[in-house]
Symmetry: C2
Subunit: 452 residues, 2 copies
């Protein structure tokens, strides 16, 4: 493979996922000559084995749910279920189209793309092994590492690539297994439990902590557990020895998180500090080696595509003298259960109950939710007693991922419940539920029954 790129590069970006391509484009916007190294497919895990394919499958099942409810809107016939193998084909086609768009996007900037695996050979110097085995050397005044992550294994389970699979493999299945045991009930495990149960699989979801979604608000995780059980998923919490729990499952999906891709980078050659959780960076995303930055999943902090993008943008700007840091405190978190859950800011367990009051609004009192048949859901807001500042929010229900952006904005702009006004929320819309929950914190919601 013959790749020509400028002898004097401003920047090498290792990894073409959300962090890497965002960094490359921002640097190119600054006028930099950029080399982008990608070992497999542009778009990284997000496009090829994460956000996009899982959301496609979620949307398919969401569509099925809507179609089932069509009789409530005067439709006479209800169609057959989606055919899983066909859905997989359509999903792959969607990935290809978005991937093609990403290629075109990158091609519009002065960015050289090389397909290969990079490892450090010196401070700001790498060797890139292309698929045909050829090795190309490259150096640049700055380097951004954005090699992402991959599913974490459980080595003790042994190797059985047909039966014991990870989320990458699950997205390639041609059919729906009869039974599936999912190990790990974090975001990934829960999303796959809804997907496979939705396509008719008999799913057992196994979590070693005392609650599924242990990182989330306890009330949200209880709601999701109920929804899973309603879908026929067997939920096992505080799980002990795995073997008996997975013995009878046709398919075992390991969903115990992700691990950073650092092994092939030869980080010691560039004196870059790392540990088993990923590459160590400071607040400006610079590693222990001057001029070398790391962003996205490889830093082991978040494993969220939009934070990876934010970090990629910040790293590229910091290379140009910026002092950008990421504000993790206002970031929304969303999990695509059916319906989805979302949260931002503080959870009840982060707060002193004496200092925070809670407001709540159920979707059953929202007329838009009623019209759309989306009656499962609520918004919960946490409000600082002294100041009235919105401190956090949890949502379950349709459009949770849209509603939570309103809260991220409120948190970012230090908003009190008094700053929110009825006239800011269109009627009828799901977003009114946020206003309702804020008013409820003071027992003043006009759409909820008298509490006094």
């Amino acid at each position: 493979m013959n790749v020509t790129f400028p002898a004097s590069l401003d920047l090498i970006v290792i990894g073409g996922g959300p962090a890497g391509y965002s960094a490359a484009i921002r640097a190119a916007q600054f006028g930099n000559s950029v080399l982008l190294v990608e070992k497999e497919r542009l778009g990284g895990a997000c496009l090829n084995s994460g956000c996009i394919p899982t959301k496609f499958l979620w949307e398919t099942l969401n569509l099925e749910k809507k179609i089932k409810r069509a009789a409530d809107h005067g439709f006479a016939h209800v169609p057959a279920r989606p055919e899983f193998s066909l859905v997989q084909q359509k999903k792959n086609k969607a990935i290809d189209i978005i991937g093609h768009g990403l290629q075109n996007l990158l091609a519009s900037y002065p960015i050289t793309i090389i397909e290969g695996t990079a490892h450090f050979t010196g401070h700001r110097q790498v060797a890139i092994t292309t698929r045909d085995g050829a090795i190309t050397e490259a150096q640049a005044s700055k380097i951004i590492i954005a090699t992402g992550s991959r599913p974490r294994d459980i080595p003790e389970l042994g190797i059985d690539p047909i039966r014991i699979i990870n989320s990458d493999d699950a997205l390639r299945l041609g059919g729906v297994p009869k039974t599936m045991a999912i190990i790990g009930a974090g975001a990934i495990g829960v999303e796959f439990a809804f997907i496979f149960a939705g396509f008719g699989c008999d799913v057992t979801l196994i979590e070693k902590e005392s609650h599924i979604l242990p990182a989330e608000d306890g009330e949200l995780s209880s709601e999701v557990k109920k929804l899973l059980q309603r879908q026929g998923v067997k939920v096992i919490e505080s799980a002990g020895t795995l073997e008996p729990l997975i013995r009878d499952a046709e398919q075992v999906l390991v969903a115990t998180g992700r691990q950073p891709n650092i092994e092939t980078l030869n980080l010691p050659a560039a004196k870059i500090n790392f540990n088993e959780n990923g590459i160590t960076v400071n607040a400006y995303l610079e590693t222990s080696q001057n001029g070398v930055y790391a962003c996205g999943d490889v830093t082991g902090k978040n494993y969220l595509a939009y934070i990876a993008q934010a970090e990629g943008i910040a790293a590229a700007e910091n290379i140009h003298g910026g002092k950008n840091t990421i504000d993790y405190s206002t970031t929304p978190r969303v999990i695509f259960s059916q319906p989805p859950i979302a949260s931002a800011g503080k959870r009840p367990k982060d707060c002193d109950p004496a200092e925070v009051i809670t407001g709540r609004f159920p979707f059953t009192a929202n007329s838009r939710a009623f019209i759309e048949g989306e009656r499962t859901g609520w918004v919960k807001v946490l409000v600082e007693k002294k100041t009235g500042l919105i401190a956090g929010c949890q949502v379950i229900g349709a459009e949770a991922e849209a509603l939570i952006s309103i809260i991220s904005m409120a948190l970012k702009r230090k908003t009190t419940v008094n700053d929110l006004k009825r006239e800011m929320f269109f009627h009828p819309s799901m977003a009114e539920s946020i206003f309702g929950a804020c008013e409820d914190a003071f027992n003043k919601c006009i759409d909820l029954p008298n509490k006094i």
Copy 2:
């Protein structure tokens, strides 16, 4: 009809629509004894002949659109179309259920409800004529007028209650006419054009101004015009004499706006100022008569349910010493075309082009929109050049009514484009388009091709 209510009332609210019931509930939350007078059905035009029924019909057609696209998600069969008469039944049922919920809500507060028509007999004194012709006198220390509005007629068209109808009548039609001429292409006319065209009617939409949706951004109105034409609607702008344009239409829908319900109130008896546009109020929603307030459509200012609610709440609080005013500058405006449009803050025509820059993000570059098959749409933001403050926003596309709440929040909290951060917007979500448009204002959007 025998109604008993406290001899000494704190508040009489005339009208049980969004303004009136919101005012009544807030006053009851303050501990007031409240009498609520409603002449027809609680919920007013919003519930019975406005927001709710039109959104139900919109949602039915939106559902049909989604079902038609189900093949893109691996569904094999596509169902029949919705049956209009059945849809109308389902819609009426939805109204009944929401109306029943509203009755229960009001019943939970110490509010006495009387069904009748109120007219002033003195300063803060009214006579209520109930359906059986009985007249009840009532007086209170405060009165809130919230009698709402009704569709505006065109008297010159003459009377033909079968052929020439208004939006109230249109929502009661049992079948779809073959042809319909809609006079007036504001929000109401446009929404009904989409609804009836969606159900197979041959619609002609007639506007006397040079563009449909004359109060909106010109680019939005052009987009909506194209969408209407794609649905087969014949759009006539700068229309002259009506008669030849409506001559052949089986049904003529007059959608030339709304007019305040003031005629039966006998306002002079209470020395309350009004003109043909409605009751005159100050910033605190108080009329020319001390202690008498007016809010919602009857003031002739907005004809939007959520502003009516906001005004109802504000009036009730002002009665208790509050100094609440409504911030109309951040209010979202939404029109349910297919897909919907929404806007908040300034439009391009409100700005000096030398002082404002525009950013734009198309839904074709949003991967969530792609997954959902919602590829028609864009977000346009107006940014003050000097300060970077977000000044306004126009949106067309799926979830426009959710996205615009993020902008209302940004406007309310005086937000600059630099305050917006990538990490605030979940991926993949429609809301990312707002961030993309803000970055685009400075040619820095990483999801759009190189512009330099």
